[in-house]
């Protein structure tokens, strides 16, 4: 079974530029998550999709970050304009179901995109 795919793996940009990340979840997984992981910290949820609808985006800085999941499959996360503090690894994860500890909602993570903002 193919895992969660992400691209690019690395990106270096200057502040105020824009950048986009792409994620393709495991086939059949209805729930997709975008996390930001700053060096030395745990992943922080930015946005959660159930199919193509947003479930939670309470921690997404909406003045500069946007995300979409058209057709309920792959997803794109965009930052415009980028700031120095956006330097982090952006992880995409997917799960089969979205439930309350159903035992089936383990999250499978992609390899991440390491973003450096200069």
């Amino acid at each position: 079974e193919a895992g969660v795919a992400q691209s690019p793996r690395y990106k270096i940009i200057e502040k105020r530029q824009s950048v986009a990340f792409w994620c393709n979840p495991i086939s059949g997984h209805a729930t997709l998550y975008w996390y930001q992981q700053i060096l030395g910290q745990g992943p922080k949820l930015l946005i959660q999709f159930q199919n193509n609808g947003v479930v939670d985006d309470s921690q997404l800085p909406k003045d500069r970050f946007s995300a979409e999941r058209l057709k309920g499959v792959d997803s794109t996360l965009k930052i415009q304009p980028a700031k120095l503090e956006d330097s982090a690894v952006y992880l995409c994860a997917s799960s089969l179901v979205m439930g309350l500890g159903s035992g089936d909602n383990e999250q499978f993570f992609g390899p991440g995109t390491r973003l450096t903002v200069l």
Binding site: P43, Q48, L100, G101, Q107
Partner: protein
Amino acid sequence: QQPVQSPQAVILREGEDAVINCSSSKALYSVHWYRQKHGEAPVFLMILLKGGEQKGHDKISASFNEKKQQSSLYLTASQLSYSGTYFCGTERGTSYGKLTFGQGTILTVHP
């Protein structure tokens, strides 16, 4: 609110045991445990549901004390491959799968 993990770091020799704790000030529905090796994605270990369940996976097991809102991860007879950063992710009853991760515990196993 972010769960608190302890200790922040632990160093072991092969064959030694370790316990990592994860505490929350909020009522939890479940706790997820992940291991992340340097430069890699987090890998799922197990889910603990409320009710004081205990689970095991090879020589790694975990428990969830609902009264204390605390989960513990037990690593017995540690192997070199256990090295990495361990994260707990907590799920609340109203969060529909949303996990809040702790700051991580760095585990280093030496030969």
